[in-house]
Amino acid sequence: MYAQMVKSEAADGEQTPEDRAFQARIDRGEKIEPKDWMPEGYRKTLIRQIGQHAHSEIVGQLPEGNWITRAPTLERKQILLAKVQDEAGHGLYLYSAAETLGVSRDELFEKLHSGAMKYSSIFNYPTLTWADMGAIGWLVDGAAIMNQVPLQRTSYGPYSRAMIRICKEESFHQRQGYSIMMKMAGGTPEQKEMAQDALNRFWYPSLMMFGPSDKDSVHSAQSMAWKIKINTNDELRQKFVDETVPQAEYLGLTVPDPDLAWNAGRGHYDFTEPDWTEFFDVLKGNGPCNEERLGARVKAWEDGAWFREGLSAHAEKAAARRLAAE
């Protein structure tokens, strides 16, 4: 998931008649639109979740942006460029959705830059080789799809519409990644080794994307009642493992989990949970690339200030000229 561990603002105290009517609308499958009445907790939780999701799309450009200049062919470079540009678009759709809840774009950026708001832990890992571009598209976008597909049915209209738009584009992301993996895994022994190494490094961080185990996620119930979370973390993680393992087998690569085994009784793969201490540590800011990623965002924001202001000044001047000419 691109939004991990979003703290849910459960209603404190008694449910008011408005709260109950609101919940009834959600239970009937109605969409909530920006001007509709909504509980303060719903609004706040959504800002947090959509904001975190938007930040993840934007910060998520950085690990892949790292390889645009070093893509092995012009075609791969164009594809990666298009993929990264899509992620910028995803961020923009989601920021717009968050803004309908009464938070400003600048506020969201400020909260990202100050560390008050988070982005997905996955983007705090480095991209060391070209094979990582394959692993990210295949696994990271794959995990994102797992989460985003059900969110198309979320109760908040603008969020749902943003998810529908995003899901249409994600399949390209995953397939271009898998295509890189196929090329690498079918290449020279060194290339195959790079592909295996990328899988080794991205497997557990990808499993972490779905957030902590259900028994440790305290905020799920309210978010699920509000239909801003559709499946539990463990459900989605299991689904991801079940889908991904055969894809790794096709590539001739080994999932780095000695205890991974098909469980015929359950009809699912048994697998090893990721190291949750590492997860919480990365979330706290101690991952291998936290400083670098956030630093790059802050620098882009600050370096771009003169340009944003210049365009505003130009727009004001042009408007004044038009007015004078009328």
Binding site: E33, K35, Q85, Y93, S96, R105, S312, A315, A318
Partner: protein
């Protein structure tokens, strides 16, 4: 100076002959830049043949609480639909 670019609502005509449809919003300093940004944000896959941009602040929307007074009156006017009238088969196509 610290000011956010205003918000624009974006409408795209998907194909010739169709209406422009609201697709989302974005920030831009002026209308011209809004169109440029809309091209990049909303038509990366040939989703459109024409773009309209309108500053969000210029849109007046009906209030959710007016839903009843505005739209309920249409509910008991089923005779506005052709299927309300039974026309005998002998009359032929109508």
């Amino acid at each position: 100076m610290k000011k956010e670019w205003p918000l624009w609502e974006i409408f795209i005509r998907g194909q010739h002959g169709l209406n422009h449809r609201h697709v989302g919003s974005l920030h831009a300093p002026d209308a011209e830049m809004a169109i440029n940004h809309a091209r990049d944000v909303y038509t990366r896959r040939k989703e459109g043949v024409s773009i309209w941009v309108v500053e969000s602040a210029d849109i007046t929307a009906s209030a959710p609480s007016d839903k009843g007074p505005l739209f309920d009156p249409a509910e008991d006017k089923v005779y506005r639909h052709p299927t309300f009238f039974d026309i005998p088969d002998e009359v032929g196509h109508m």
